[in-house]
Subunit: 251 residues, 2 copies
DNA sequence: TTATTATTGATTAAATTTGATTGATTTATT
DNA sequence: AATAAATCAATCAAATTTAATCAATAATAA
């Protein structure tokens, strides 16, 4: 048996039982104690397992590529719901811009079923999700890392400039009739503007907590969006005003 | 049978089983062990497969467990040691290119103590490390995600093109007097070339297992590097040849 | 046709992996 | 604390795998 193969099997066995004795592995894999021990210490070197006297244990934390997956748990349910709505606009072979917002990350988690997607994003969590769960061609905008969660700056702007996409999914910090769609951070706003410019269909994912708040940097006006998806039907005047402009809300 | 045909079949077989023995391939393809081995080493140099003693393993995606075992091709200690050597060349306020190799990731883990670094990398693990443990300004090249570990393609090339750095830390798949510094993957080689071009001091981190192997894509010649760091003093003629060129090895 | 080049399989020496043995170290039991 | 049992790391010989060499064959060009 190849040592590669054997170590693979040790990992598999460890996934079932969370820890095993050397003897057990010997019998299971028809190898001597010396061989198993050598395997275990190699695997320990590589950081794949934890070595304990008499055997080995699965390493805690399990996932090696988790570091930058920061995700806000606030309003998880709302964001989940909105992301589900957004799925209606995705189709196979679509080319897509996605911003770095946490709401859009929820959408990224739901794209597993589509084929032949090409996606450009400046979000790190979104990038990781797409890369892990989908077969999409994932382009990271690159750039300066901001807040552990997104890429911004000239590098990011330039790379986005070179793409044209069918649709742009994004979120914002604030949304109001007069102020439009606003962001707190200038650099992130610039990124969204660039994506907006190079996309055909602009789809905003906006949970209700953001309505009627204005932030420092404007991304675009209400009329500049093709679809606005929200978690609850908007009340009174504001929703009517929106519908008046021909923007689809939760439809 | 043509060698191309046979190698194609080896790939097909590998897609079913994720690793195979040389013996198995011999019987299946009616070829001698020598022939199969020649095929496997060719394919390895092109980066199509991972060679393991007794057989071969699939390298590309599909199975996420396989690359894990293959990735940091063991020798954690060697890489750790080389990274430590590399520290001597880093100084506060330096501007640095770092490639996506695992050896360079070890260096990234050691940069915590420096102030005011600006670092450009196309490596995902390196990016994560830097971002988590250092106060450096970290620029990701962005681009298409390759093998879950690096950014490649035009986007990455363009963003690197726009930086000039004091130093470039990189590794390679193979290093030899005649072949120079070589890589298995064309896209990654292109990235390294671009970083090489835009950096003043070029510092190779190369563990001894890579010496006297040539891979498919050339990055640069031996003479094109300013420093080569290895885990052990190189033996026989090779080291003398290197020193003859004025390149510093392990010094 | 002949000469040249490439590919293949056999042979062999070197390198690597393996399993058994040993003594040292750690853990459990009395 | 002392003893027994279990586990470990180191060592070595046997088995396996590899890389290098060379002759034979096949393919190609002159």
């Amino acid at each position: 048996m190849l040592s590669f193969e054997r170590q693979q099997q040790i990992l598999d066995i460890l996934k079932e039982h969370k820890c095993v004795h050397v003897d057990f592995l010997c019998k299971k894999l028809f190898a001597s104690g010396a061989t198993i021990r050598r395997d275990l210490s190699e695997m320990h070197e590589k950081g794949l397992i934890t070595r304990v006297r008499g055997g080995a244990a699965l390493i805690e934390g399990t996932n090696q590529d988790a570091p930058l997956l920061v995700r806000s748990n606030e309003n998880r349910a709302k964001k989940e719901y909105i992301a589900q709505l957004a799925l209606r606009y995705v189709h196979d072979s679509a080319t897509i811009f996605m911003d770095s917002s946490s709401t859009v990350t929820f959408l990224a988690d739901k794209l597993e079923g589509f084929r032949d997607l090409s996606i450009v994003t400046n979000g790190i969590a979104t990038m990781n999700s797409l890369n892990e769960y989908t077969t999409a061609k994932v382009f990271s905008s690159g750039g300066l890392i901001r807040n552990n969660s997104s890429f911004v700056g000239q590098i990011a702007m330039d790379s986005i400039y070179n793409f044209r996409a069918d649709m742009f999914f994004f979120s914002c910090c604030g949304l109001s009739i007069e102020g439009g769609c606003t962001e707190a951070d200038e650099d992130n706003a610039a990124i969204k503007k660039q994506m907006w410019k190079n996309a055909k269909k602009r789809i905003l994912l906006c949970d209700s907590t953001k309505v009627n708040h204005d932030f420092f940097c404007k991304v675009c006006d209400i009329q500049d969006m093709d679809v606005i998806l929200m978690d609850q039907p908007q009340d009174q005047s504001s929703i009517e005003d929106l519908i008046g402009t021909g923007i689809i809300v939760n439809k």
